[in-house]
């Protein structure tokens, strides 16, 4: 008998159905992947299973759990099932855990509520559970508040809370989307390891995550279940257009065309750049340390790294948005220095920035026309309104938006359209260098693909140089000529894209590649390549900053900081680069 049986599920807000006529089953101890783009109704479905939808949602159809109907049942009955029979892990553990309560108290409350333990027995059970999810020093972490843990540790605590009452079904709703890729690998491994015979419903937008992990897949699109079946068969022969599209637009780190190295002359060089911050207690925090990089004409240089790697600080400093504490930036033979307001107009015009979240980067009270023409009004004041309009129309056409978009407000745009408007705004001054800070991270499949294609097209036509910041190596592979790998503000490796992906020199680069999920069930999933998480910038490790997580590290690595040196056409900062090159 199926553990969970959903029949004709329909979720409406007013007259709009966000989930419609969805039926599926989850069997005991089975792992099922639920995939689809954002807004397809996958999270709504998950919330409906636990009766957690907001009050204005109306649910119809049937949800049978272990034989009993739980759709539209009483809160009391739901409370008996929650945690003990069905539990859930949410996306962002910082939001999902109570910041005002110690971790231990939050877990303990579950045991007390369901009469599973009390007193010191409950405390011991909680500590044992925290140990199982791999929290170091669980007795101490029992008393920690969520903000005192790292992102990965918080998600481990969240998983502990979901498993402590031994449920039959665990729902994981984008459990690793807020985490770094090396931590993602650890968390997915942990989920698989701990669930025993608990069934898993894994919700994600990333086919790479479900490929090697789930036995069956459910594909959602626009509130409907469009395809389901065994994972291997669906990847090998997708039946629905949705699954075909998802597969087509899922970037892969292991295949696809790679751009050859760019040959143009150097347009921008950063030499020995350092950026520091001070935290609330005035302790110095070195976000970027001694980074040297250059960018050629018509080249896309990707900067990759996990959170805290300093990639955003680096570009902000070179733009003059934050002070650079050491080093210099040369653009077109001239020194770029000082805050952005003090720089020459031409310098400001030539370097433009595109942000991650297009919706918050666009003024909600301005129409597309004013948004895109604003740089013109600032930088080329004499033009008539007609000339400006013509240029706006032309640039919008270039990014694939017709004139009907001129009078729209940002909230009337999709994510992809909004990002194209943001890019149009950055391109209208015909800059020489475009800096994209996680510019496609918020976009799904086809929208992401369109933006990447747009960037490539603009580069071909106008010789634009692009600095492309991203945490996603698969995306980086498809867009960049060269890749720089940052870790804790230090540059660890710079290589042409083809070389970086085929022969990564630095152990950290290797780990990043191994940790990146591949949307193909035939490619074996690696065990989490590295343990631990990125250390605090406040106390960076001695010597090579990566040495505490590196399996090749020895005495030299903890004593001496490796300098960036060139080995067989690749610049790499590792004491053992030569040896590693010979013994992959």
């Amino acid at each position: 008998m199926s553990l969970l049986e959903v029949n004709n599920l329909r979720i409406c807000y007013g007259d709009t159905a966000v989930v419609d006529d969805v039926s599926f089953v989850v069997r005991r101890s089975e792992s099922v992947g639920l995939v689809g783009e954002s807004g397809c109704g996958k999270s709504q479905t998950a919330l409906a299973l636990l009766g957690l939808l907001p009050r204005d949602a109306s649910v119809s159809g049937s949800i049978r759990f272990d034989g009993a109907e739980i759709a539209n049942t009483s809160q009391r009955q739901l409370d008996e099932i929650r945690a003990t029979r069905i539990s859930i892990v949410f996306q962002d553990p910082m939001q999902a855990l109570n910041p005002y309560l110690r971790i231990g108290q939050q877990l303990r409350q579950i045991l007390l509520q369901h009469n599973l333990a009390r007193g010191t027995d409950a405390d011991e059970k909680v500590i044992a559970m925290l140990a199982r999810v791999g929290l170091p020093d669980p007795k101490q972490q029992f008393h920690a508040y969520p903000h005192q843990l790292s992102g990965g540790m918080r998600q481990r605590a969240m998983i502990a809370s979901a498993l402590i009452a031994r449920p039959d079904l665990l729902i994981a709703d984008e459990p690793t989307t807020a985490l770094d890729v090396t931590v993602q690998a650890q968390i997915l491994e942990l989920l698989e390891e701990l669930r025993d015979d608990t069934a898993l419903l894994l919700i994600t937008h990333d086919l790479g995550i479900v490929a090697g992990r789930c036995e069956r897949l459910l594909v959602f699109e626009a509130g409907k279940l469009v395809e389901s079946g065994p994972t291997g068969a669906m990847f090998a022969a997708p039946a629905s257009d949705s699954m075909k599209r998802l597969l087509k637009f899922a970037p892969r780190i292991d295949r696809g065309a790679i751009l050859p190295p760019a040959e143009g002359k150097t347009v921008l060089s950063v030499e020995g750049a350092s950026v520091s911050y001070r935290d609330a207690s005035h302790r110095e925090l070195r976000a970027v340390l001694d980074v040297t990089l250059s960018l050629r004409q018509a080249e896309t240089l990707a900067i990759v790294g996990e959170s805290g790697s300093g990639k955003t600080s680096l570009v902000r400093a070179l733009l003059g948005l934050i002070p650079m504490h050491a080093g210099r930036v040369v653009y077109a033979g001239q020194l770029l220095e000082g805050a952005v307001q003090t720089r020459a107009a031409a310098q400001r015009r030539d370097l433009q920035l595109v942000f991650q979240d297009p919706v918050s980067a666009l003024n909600p009270q301005m129409r597309v026309q004013s948004i895109v023409s604003e740089p013109l009004r600032v930088h080329a004041g004499e033009q008539t309104a007609q000339v400006r309009l013509a240029r706006v129309v032309a640039i919008l056409k270039k990014v694939g938006l017709n004139e009907s978009f001129l009078h729209r407000f940002p909230h009337q745009l999709s994510g992809g359209q909004a990002q194209r408007v943001a890019i149009a705004r950055s391109l209208i001054l015909e800059p020489k260098i475009l800096i994209c800070d996680e510019a496609v991270a918020a976009l799904d499949g086809s929208a992401r693909d369109q933006v990447l294609e747009l960037l490539r097209a603009v580069q071909r036509e106008s010789g634009l140089s692009i600095i492309f910041i991203s945490h996603d190596l698969a995306v980086v592979r498809s867009i960049s000529h060269r890749v720089a790998v940052l870790y804790l503000g230090r540059l660890l490796e710079v290589a042409d894209t083809a070389l970086l992906f085929s022969e990564p020199r630095h152990p950290y680069t290797r780990a990043l590649l191994d940790a990146s999920p591949v949307p193909d069930p035939l490619v074996p999933t690696h065990a989490a390549p590295i343990k631990g998480e990125v250390p605090s910038l406040l106390s960076p490790p001695s010597g090579c900053v990566f040495h505490p997580r590196c399996k090749f590290a020895d005495g030299v690595c903890s004593d001496k900081r490796p300098l960036l040196r060139e080995i067989a056409g690749v610049r790499v900062a590792c004491h053992h680069a030569e040896v590693l090159l010979k013994h992959p």
Binding site: D79, N98, P99, Q109, Q113, H114, H147
Partner: protein, 307 residues
């Protein structure tokens, strides 16, 4: 946290100094003096009396003299009650005011928080709207209107409670003044609690708690109450100030021999030192209580504590 408290404590000194100087100037700017009576005393007598209190000196000098005394903890003698020092008068009036204020505050927090939470859990319902209309009324009607109406209704007409202070013994005499004083604060705290509770109940970690099967009561008690109390706690500073000023009126209306009553009498009599003494005393009290509120903030919110 300790450093922060110390920092705030140091800042309290200039604040207090500013209050003292402003109050001193304002008291002296008021027309008339402490010894102006209906029957004007002989000019020579007046001059002698004023000289003995140094009122003939230039104002800056008087201020300097006053501050010098203050540093030594001396609030000076009362001008109108020559046998008492200002400190003694404050010590005499404060216990009644303290009891009144503390009870009002307690009542305001208990009733306000409960009513606000109650309304938040039934957002949009009839109960919610009833509680909120009551709160709106409570905020809109000033103390000097509420007090006589309550007295008229509950004391004079229904004889349930004593109308005044004197002559009546026991706890009953506290009921009306405390309610009068607490009413606008109940209303305000109820509104604050409702708004912040609705906000907290919409947060993701409450959804997590619901997903854990905690049930409404546990969710409020364990997860929601603490964060929802933060705005209420921030309001405690202004609330304390409001209760102190409110008690000036309430003590007058109910004839309570508290500090508020002394203050009004002192002001009418141009009893410079008494008025100044009470102002300084209240200012210190408000600054100190605000400091405690800030420290409590850190106790509730662990992220503040760490900074």
């Amino acid at each position: 946290m300790m450093r922060y408290a110390l920092h705030r404590l140091l800042w309290a000194i200039p604040t207090l100094l500013l209050v003292i100087v402003l109050a001193f100037l304002m008291v002296h700017a008021a027309p008339g003096g402490p010894f102006d009576d209906e029957r004007a005393p002989h000019p020579d007598v007046l001059a002698t009396v004023e000289a003995s209190y140094h009122l003939d000196e230039p104002l800056p000098q008087q201020l300097g003299r006053y501050l010098y005394g203050l540093i030594q903890g001396d609030l000076g003698p009362s001008f109108r009650y020559p046998n008492y020092s200002v400190s003694e008068l404050i010590g005499h009036g404060f216990p009644a005011s303290l009891k009144l204020g503390a009870l009002a505050m307690l009542l305001a927090v208990l009733v306000g928080v409960s009513a606000g939470t109650f309304a938040a859990l039934r957002q949009g319902s009839l109960t919610d709207r009833a509680v909120m209309s009551f709160a709106m009324t409570g905020i809109s009607i000033p103390v000097f209107v509420v007090a006589p109406v309550l007295v008229l209704l509950l004391a004079v007409k229904l004889h349930w409670l004593p109308a005044g202070w004197s002559g009546s013994a026991g706890a009953a005499k506290y009921v009306l003044p405390v309610i009068t004083l607490a009413l606008p604060q109940i209303a305000y705290i109820a509104r604050l609690t409702r708004a912040s509770m609705i906000d907290v109940l919409g947060r993701d970690f409450i959804r997590t708690a619901r997903a854990q099967g905690l049930g409404t009561r546990s969710i409020i008690r364990v997860h929601a109450l603490k964060p929802a109390m933060l705005p209420v706690l921030s309001y405690m500073g202004p609330a304390i100030a409001a209760i102190l000023t409110g008690s000036v009126v309430v003590e007058q209306v109910f004839g309570i021999p508290g500090l508020g009553a002394s203050f009004v009498q002192g002001a009418l009599n141009r009893d410079y030192t008494l008025v100044l003494g009470i102002v300084i005393f209240y200012a210190t009290l408000i600054i100190a209580l605000n400091l405690i509120v800030d420290v409590l903030y850190g106790v509730i919110d662990p992220r503040v504590r760490q900074q």
